[in-house]
C-alpha cells in the first residue's frame, strides 16, 4: 500500500521535490502539498482502493504524512469489513 500511495502522491501531489526524498512520517504540507492537490490525491486514493472518505476523516491530520494516509486508508478498509 505504501508504494501505491507514493505513486499517487508523485502523480497528483504536485510536490516540488521528488517523493523519494520524503520519509513516511515527513510533513507533506511542509513539502508543498497544496489543498487543491490534497483533494486530487483523495480522489485518486478513492479510485485506487475503491473506498470513499467519510467526512470525519477529511481533515488535515489524515493527510499530513504518507504514514497518516496509509493509516487513514487502512481505517476505512477495516470499517468496511466490519460493516
Amino acid at each position: 500500500m505504501n508504494g501505491e500511495i507514493r505513486a499517487l502522491l508523485a502523480k497528483l501531489g504536485g510536490l516540488p521535490v521528488s517523493i523519494d526524498t520524503i520519509d513516511d512520517n515527513g510533513d507533506l504540507y511542509a513539502a508543498g502539498l497544496s489543498s487543491f492537490a490534497s483533494v486530487q490525491l483523495m480522489l485518486g486514493l478513492e479510485e485506487a482502493f475503491d473506498i470513499e472518505f467519510p467526512d470525519h476523516l477529511l481533515n488535515r491530520k489524515s493527510f499530513a504524512s504518507i504514514a497518516a494516509i496509509e493509516n487513514t486508508v487502512k481505517t476505512i478498509l477495516a470499517d468496511r469489513e466490519v460493516a
Partner: protein, 393 residues
C-alpha cells in the same frame, strides 16, 4: 491598569456604543478624505476594546467570538471602515490567542496589547501570488537567534497606523510556497515604504496601502505553529465570521435608514400606506436570513473549537466559506432596495437617508476577499466532501 479596571466595570454595550457614536460622527469625512478613522480607533483604545479577546490571565477580557461579532456589527452600523479595522485587529488577535498561547514571547506580547492597547496590522498578500494568502514568495531568514524578512506587500491594512504587523512568509529560503509561518514585528523593528495608494470605491478609511516591508527581530517572534494551521483553525473562520458581522451592520443601517424614511412618510400622511412599506417587509426577511447565517456560523465555530479534528476538517472549511459567500452576496441587494425606498434622498449625499457610502463599502465584501477565489476553493473540496443531509446536523 486602573483604566482597565474602570473600563471593564462599565457595561460592554455602553462602551461599544460610545465608540460607535464617535465613529458615526466622522464616517462621512473619513470616507470622503480616504483617511484613517483616528477618532474611532482612539475611542476603541480609550474604551479598552483592542485587548478584549485576550485571555483574562494576560490582562484581557477573554471575550468569545460571538461577543466580538456583536461589537463588529454595532460598529458596522456606524462606520464600516472603523468596523473593518476593529475586525481585522481581532482576527490577528485570534491567531495569537489560539496559536501563541504556549510561547513566552507571544504571551508577553498579548499582555502588552491589552495593557497598551496596541493595534495589530496584517500583511498576508504579496506581489506575484495572485491574492492567494496560502502561498508566499518571500521567506524569513533566521540565523543566530535573529530573523529578517523583506516582503513586497501589496496590501498592509492601516499599515502606517499599526503598532505591530503580523506577516506571512515561507518558513525558510528553501521551503515550498505553501510551507509558511507568521511572524510578529513591532513598529520599531521594521520599515515600510509605500508602493501603492489605497484609493478605492469603498472601505476608504481602512487605508490598505501597499508597502515594501523590511523587518528584523528576535527569531522567537515567529509564531510556533505552521501558518497552515493558523489559517485553518483560527484565521479563516474568524475572518469570515467577523467580516460578515461588519457587513451585516452595514446592511442593517441601510435598512434602518429606509425604515426611518417610510416612517417619516407615514407620519406626514396618517391613515394611508406609505410607498415602500411592502418592500421594507421584504428587506426585513432578507436581513433575518443573513443574521441567521452568521449566528449559525458563530455557533459552528464555537462548537468546533472544542474539537481540533472538526476545526481542521473540510466540512467546517466549507461551512465557513459559505457563511462569507452568502453574507457578502446578500447585502448588496438589500442596500439597493433600501435606496429604491429612500429614492433621491438615499441617492443624495448629506441627507439622513444617504446610502452611497453603504453601497460602496458593501461592494468590498465580494471583492476585497474575492468570492470567485473562495468558490474555487469550496468547489475543489466538494469533489470529496458530502453535503450534510440532516437539518440539525
Amino acid at each position: 491598569m486602573d483604566a482597565s479596571a474602570t473600563a471593564s466595570e462599565k457595561n460592554l454595550k455602553s462602551r461599544v456604543n460610545h465608540v460607535a457614536t464617535v465613529a458615526a460622527a466622522y464616517a462621512d469625512e473619513v470616507d470622503r478624505d480616504s483617511r484613517f478613522p483616528k477618532e474611532a480607533v482612539d475611542a476603541m483604545k480609550a474604551e479598552r476594546l483592542l485587548g478584549i479577546m485576550i485571555p483574562e490571565e494576560l490582562g484581557g477580557e477573554g471575550l468569545s467570538i460571538s461577543e466580538i461579532a456583536e461589537l463588529c456589527s454595532t460598529l458596522g452600523q456606524a462606520c464600516a471602515s472603523s468596523a473593518m479595522i476593529f475586525a481585522m485587529h481581532q482576527i490577528k488577535t485570534s491567531s495569537l490567542v489560539t496559536h501563541g498561547n504556549d510561547a513566552d514571547w507571544h504571551r508577553n506580547f498579548m499582555r502588552r496589547i491589552a495593557a497598551e492597547q496596541l493595534l495589530l496590522g496584517s500583511a498576508t498578500t504579496e506581489a506575484g501570488i495572485g491574492g492567494n494568502l496560502r502561498n508566499s514568495i518571500c521567506a524569513i531568514d533566521a540565523k543566530d537567534g535573529r530573523c529578517f524578512l523583506e516582503k513586497d506587500a501589496t496590501v498592509i491594512s492601516y499599515g502606517v497606523e499599526s503598532d505591530a504587523i503580523l506577516i506571512t512568509s515561507r518558513s525558510h529560503k528553501d521551503a515550498a510556497s505553501s510551507d509558511q509561518v507568521m511572524t510578529v514585528f513591532l513598529k520599531d523593528q521594521y520599515t515600510i515604504d509605500k508602493t501603492h495608494v489605497w484609493d478605492t470605491l469603498g472601505m476608504r478609511g481602512t487605508c490598505s496601502d501597499g508597502f515594501m516591508f523590511r523587518g528584523e527581530a528576535p527569531a522567537e517572534q515567529v509564531l510556533p505553529h505552521p501558518f497552515a494551521e493558523i489559517a485553518a483553525q483560527s484565521m479563516l473562520a474568524t475572518a469570515h465570521l467577523l467580516w460578515s458581522s461588519v457587513w451585516y451592520g452595514i446592511a442593517l443601517d441601510a435598512f434602518t435608514r429606509a425604515q426611518n424614511f417610510v416612517r417619516a412618510a407615514a407620519r406626514k400622511a396618517p391613515g394611508t400606506q406609505p410607498p415602500g412599506l411592502v418592500q421594507l417587509a421584504e428587506l426585513s426577511s432578507q436581513l433575518q436570513v443573513i443574521r441567521s447565517n452568521i449566528v449559525g456560523g458563530l455557533r459552528s465555530y464555537e462548537d468546533a473549537c472544542k474539537d481540533q479534528d472538526r476545526l481542521s476538517s473540510m466540512g467546517f472549511a466549507v461551512a465557513m466559506n459559505n457563511v462569507k459567500i452568502a453574507s457578502s452576496e446578500m447585502i448588496l441587494p438589500i442596500i439597493n432596495q433600501a435606496m429604491r425606498i429612500c429614492g433621491i434622498m438615499g441617492y443624495k449625499n448629506g441627507t439622513p437617508y444617504s446610502l452611497g457610502r453603504h453601497l460602496r463599502d458593501a461592494h468590498s465584501a465580494q471583492l476585497m476577499i474575492s468570492n470567485d477565489r473562495i468558490l474555487g476553493n469550496t468547489s475543489n473540496m466538494l469533489l470529496v466532501h458530502k453535503q450534510e443531509t440532516s437539518l440539525l446536523g
